[in-house]
Amino acid sequence: MAETAQKRITDIGPPHYEKFLPPIIKENYGKWKYHEIPRPGVIVHISETGAKLYTVRAASPRLLSTAKIRKFAQLAEKYSDGYLRFTSRHNVEFLLTDPSKIDPLIQELESIGHPVGGTGNAISSMVHTQGWIHCHSAATDASGIVKAVMDELIDYFKTMKLPAKIRLALACCLNMCGAVHCSDIAILGIHTRPPKINYDLLPKVCEIPNVVASCPTAAIRPSTYDGKPSVEIEEEKCMYCANCYTVCPALPLNNAQTDGISIWVGGKVSNARTEPMFSKLAVPYLPNNPPRWPEVVQTVKKIVEVWAANAHKHERVGEWIERIGWPKFFKLTGIEFTKQHIDDFKHAGLTYKTSVHLTY
């Protein structure tokens, strides 16, 4: 195999995207004039040239077997001349030029369990992460909760009856790979106990100064244990961020009994109307209850429905709450307001209410 090594190709980057663009896109690149959404899951883009591109968007669990990938490839060949793409929220999109193929494609997608929708004022797929499928850091699973939540909210994926877009996301630990920090509703896996120190392992695999430096609340101090260099954790100072665990495998926080989930609301990314906003804490703790996490599903559903019933048209969750005020959000959703909601981190003082703009 020395030969292979000689021919080793590196640093070529991805294939050029043009190779994968259908002719209609090449011809109308940069010439699109407007779009319409004739039905949920179908977007038609009309070009200056008059050309029309029909996109059919189907749900994806993101975790795909190679078999399913081949199936998508086959569908693309059958309906869209072999062209397809994926979206920034991991849906799959077929790029059609022949409108008569839309219905059959949708039928076939639905028949293999991939509902069509997610466009316009809908719930699209949830951005999410690895969870128990692949990550050492996870405080909860990712795919399972997404499945349970979306099963319950499927109607909002397949229709466009909501006041505005609503983006759901999930991250299985505070690292927030799902970048849930700017989502309308975010589900976040959390630890609620300080790390347990593995005294045997620690001196072998961790650099103590790094570990000490990693802790944002200075809860970790160098110490010795059984004559060996180690660390000491002031438990009351720990807020379970797991940053120490990221730099030191001997400090696991995972805990089957006490790991759980928090729910966040009101973030957004787009600049439409209001500036991008962070999500804010709605529910500090819900238990990990596999396989279907009913507490999480019901809480998310409740928030979606209260928002749907009360928001003005085009009002994202955060915009709605800004208009009605947080006290009303808690009242309408029935979520209890607790000490945990009150910020106590770096910029906490700026989150206190410094006006009498209150509703009664």
């Binding site: 590196t10 294939p15 749900a59 793409r85 499945k147 085009h314």
Partner: protein
């Protein structure tokens, strides 16, 4: 191999085959039918569901020759029970810009992965890569070799530039104010070395959105965010506005009242926009796509520094260049120069695991601008300081 595989009972996971949303469990089972890694993953995951805890250990450093990034090492903590996931490393494969594929390209990728891995993937990872989900250390090099033969390469991981990503832009969107895919491809190619060989204080992500709708969430998820915009007048087709009104759009409530620049007037006949007060938020255009369009003098805003909360709290990217034209090779090269300038002080003075956004917050935006040779502009801030703690060094120097 298949005949020797264990058959796991998965009563908990089976619950997640039910219901209308596509089931990841079905996907795993499909692969588990023939692939021992996928099969052991199924068993291990059922165990996690029972134990309510993950069964993965902290990853070690694994990779392909000469690269430091692109592979996430992973090992189960139950290797005796689930030997086929004793190694279960992820490979991050750089996606084509805009995530467009031909059926042929997809099949090529599937074939490679069937030969070397679990038969499971993510289309795509949160950063945008194609994720090949789980294989053994000894398969990495072979997979890499087949990938590059097929014209694909690995993406980033660790303290390197990560795979840039972008919205579909001009390929399929009427609002793209610059060619997102072209720029993304250009930057990806330019930074091959920096993507594959970690040499930064921490990760550095690049995302390109064609307009302020920011469909790749660049302002929240990229250290370097490029967001398209325009600086002349919004294009208006008055006829079409009237048609929207006729068809039931309440122009006043849905458009005028929600405009953050408070710069739209509608008298039932003509829609007037005071473009000098327009904030370029896209809302009016979003609601009336057939009638309105971004202006013709198009370009982008460049923002810097967003990241997830670990460990100083989440940061959104903030404006560093209020407007830049992006319509030729030269302008792309200027972006490269800017990125290089941005990286320099951070690489030199950034702490280990300090993102560029955190670095700027630590040294101060004013000082950082000086270091990279940009003039302070009021567009870079939400508002001037409210505290009187001004350093008057420049007056000092003038003495």
């Amino acid at each position: 191999m298949a005949e020797q595989m264990k058959k796991y009972e998965t009563p908990l996971l089976d619950e997640l085959e039910k219901g209308p949303w596509p089931s990841f469990v079905k996907e795993i089972k499909t692969a588990a039918d023939w692939n021992p890694m996928a099969n052991d993953l199924l068993g291990l995951l059922e165990r996690s569901y029972r134990d309510k805890i993950g069964h993965w250990k902290h990853g070690g450093i694994v990779g392909v020759m000469g690269y430091g990034g692109g592979v996430i090492g992973r090992y189960t903590d139950l290797p005796d029970e689930f030997p086929n996931v004793s190694h279960f490393h992820t490979m991050r494969v750089n996606q084509p810009a805009g995530w467009f594929y031909t059926s042929e390209a997809l099949r090529t990728l599937a074939d490679i992965w069937d030969r070397h891995g679990s038969g499971l993937t993510n289309f795509h990872g949160s950063t945008g890569d194609i994720i090949f989900l789980g294989t053994r250390t000894e398969e990495l090099e072979a997979t890499f070799s087949e990938l590059t033969q097929a014209g694909f390469d690995l993406g980033g991981s660790g303290s390197d530039i990560r795979t840039p990503s972008c919205c579909c832009g001009m390929a399929r969107c009427e609002w793209a104010c610059y060619d997102t895919m072209k720029l993304t491809y250009f930057l990806t190619q330019h930074y091959q070395d920096e993507i594959h060989r970690p040499a930064l204080p921490y990760k550095f992500k690049i995302k390109c959105s064609g307009c302020p709708n920011d469909c790749v969430a660049s302002i929240a998820r990229a250290d370097f965010s490029v967001i398209g915009t325009w600086r002349d007048e919004i294009q208006i087709d008055q006829e079409m506005v009237r048609e929207y009104a006729k068809n039931g759009v309440d122009i006043v409530k849905e458009v005028v009242a929600l405009c953050p620049g408070r710069c739209i007037d509608w008298d039932g006949e003509t829609l007037k926009i005071d473009d000098s007060s327009c904030r370029h938020c896209m809302h009016c255009i979003n609601v009336l796509p057939k009638a309105l369009a971004p202006g013709k003098d198009r370009g982008a805003v460049i923002l810097l520094g967003s990241k997830a909360p670990i460990v100083e709290g989440a940061i959104l990217s903030s404006v560093i260049v209020p407007f830049v034209k992006l319509d030729d090779e030269d302008s792309f090269n200027d972006i490269v120069e800017l990125i290089d300038a941005i990286l320099e002080p951070w690489v030199e003075e950034g702490k280990n695991r300090e993102r560029v956004g955190e670095f700027i917050q630590r040294v101060g935006l004013g000082n950082y601008l000086e270091a990279i040779g940009l003039d302070p502009q009021p567009e870079m801030i939400r508002h001037p300081r409210t505290n009187p703690y001004v350093f008057y060094e420049n007056y000092l120097e003038e003495e």
